[in-house]
């Protein structure tokens, strides 16, 4: 899938995260988190796995995490990507 426009998903409420996506040459992931020291690597891993499953190889991904569970991170990244690509949903790829 190809990022063709800017998109946002999620909130800055506790237990959630805000995902901002923009078109970019190459894949760049920026993670800001209240629990960055303890869980920064784990958050990055979940974001990378989610993007990989959606075949996203280019894009600027900015994450503002407020202590979200992995399932929330996956869902917010997925919805931001789908909004930014305007691609038809392939459910077997998403779930």
């Amino acid at each position: 899938m190809k990022i063709i426009k800017s998109a946002i998903s999620g909130t800055l409420e506790s237990s959630d995260l805000l995902v901002k996506i923009e078109p970019n040459h190459g894949l760049e992931i920026v993670i800001n988190s209240d629990v960055n020291k303890q869980f920064g690597q784990q958050i990055r891993l979940v974001v990378e796995e989610t993007l990989n499953r959606l075949n996203i190889t280019d894009g600027l991904i900015i994450i503002d995490d407020k202590g979200a569970l992995d399932c929330v991170i996956k869902a917010r990244v997925q919805s931001a990507v789908l909004r930014a690509t305007e691609a038809a949903i392939n459910w077997s790829q998403i779930l």
């Binding site: 409420e13 506790s14 917010r76 997925q78 919805s79 459910w91 077997s92």
Partner: protein
């Protein structure tokens, strides 16, 4: 024991914090809401949030039944909701605004297709029909009997009362609908759920309504606030006196069986099959919920 469905707690599907933590309240069933609680611009994100939460399995691990209220299938959102939640392993789909059995057949056709696509056992996804119109109430029996997937019918008051050109009052306005939906459930041998009580600060009014619907025979109630769960479960718990009497009935029945007696009596009253079954249910319920605390 049959699955208890006393409390069905609504959770807004777009609220990450509530989805991540609400298993701690231990309702019998949790209902992820993708319909009225989610704005149109957040429908896509909320359905993914619910689906990924389901895949994590935190509710299933706690023994809490997972239900989702999807958007109606004639909206742009209903089918995508269904694709997401069936694939993610939802146990029960709640269909809003059910007026006729045709809507249930349409839903089950879609569910069956998805189940086959992903290799989920056909028939494993169950259905609850929400009845929220005069037409739905009149058709309640055919709706309740429309599918082997159907595990319950739920009365929803807001739209029904608008349709009936009245408003929430002392319960008189819901009397016919409650009785009709409950009879439909009993004809179909499935569960019946009462309406939400939306004034969360009025415990007295809530308990008055719970007493009424329990006496009518409802299995439980849809809830909008976690603090109503304990009140509801306690109201449905048997009293200490009921449990003691049930134990005496079961003991007398077992003694009669040992002696090969066809008919058993206790304190001069005959004990037959339905009374023994009821007594065993009371004992099992007490083992789960304890006995009723009087406040």
């Amino acid at each position: 024991m049959k699955k208890l469905r006393r409390s069905m707690l609504f959770l807004p599907g777009a609220n990450a914090a509530m989805l991540s933590t609400s298993f701690v309240y231990k309702p019998d069933s949790i209902m992820f809401d993708l319909e009225d609680a989610v704005s149109v611009k957040e429908k896509d994100s909320a359905r993914l949030l619910v689906a990924q939460t389901l895949k994590l399995g935190i509710y299933q691990q706690q023994g809490i039944e997972t239900v989702v209220r999807i958007n109606a299938l004639d909206t742009p959102f209903g089918l995508d909701d269904l694709e997401a939640v069936v694939r993610a392993g939802i146990e029960v789909v709640r269909l809003p605004m059910t007026h006729s059995e045709d809507q249930v057949h349409e839903l089950e056709n879609h569910i069956e297709r998805i189940e086959k696509e992903i290799g989920r056992p056909v028939g494993s996804t169950k259905i609850i029909a929400a009845i929220e119109s005069a037409l739905g109430v009149v058709n309640a029996i055919s709706i309740a009997k429309s599918s082997p997937r159907m595990i319950g019918v739920a009365l929803a008051a807001f739209d029904y009362l608008v349709d009936m050109q009245t408003e929430r009052g002392d319960g008189t306005e819901l009397f016919y609908a409650r009785c009709a939906v409950l009879h439909a459930a009993r004809v179909a041998k499935i569960d019946a759920f009462d309406v939400v009580y939306s004034n969360i600060n009025d415990d007295e009014g809530f308990l008055r309504e719970v007493k009424l619907i329990k006496q009518l025979g409802f299995n439980g109630k849809s809830l909008v606030n976690p603090r109503q769960i304990e009140l509801l479960h306690n109201a449905y718990a048997p009293t200490h006196k009921e449990v003691e009497q049930a134990k005496q009935i079961v003991a007398a029945a077992e003694e009669g069986e040992r002696q090969g007696l066809g008919v058993v009596s206790l304190n001069g009253k005959m004990i037959d099959g339905p009374i023994i079954t009821r007594a065993r249910t009371i004992i099992e319920l007490a083992q789960i919920s304890g006995t009723r605390q009087e406040y």
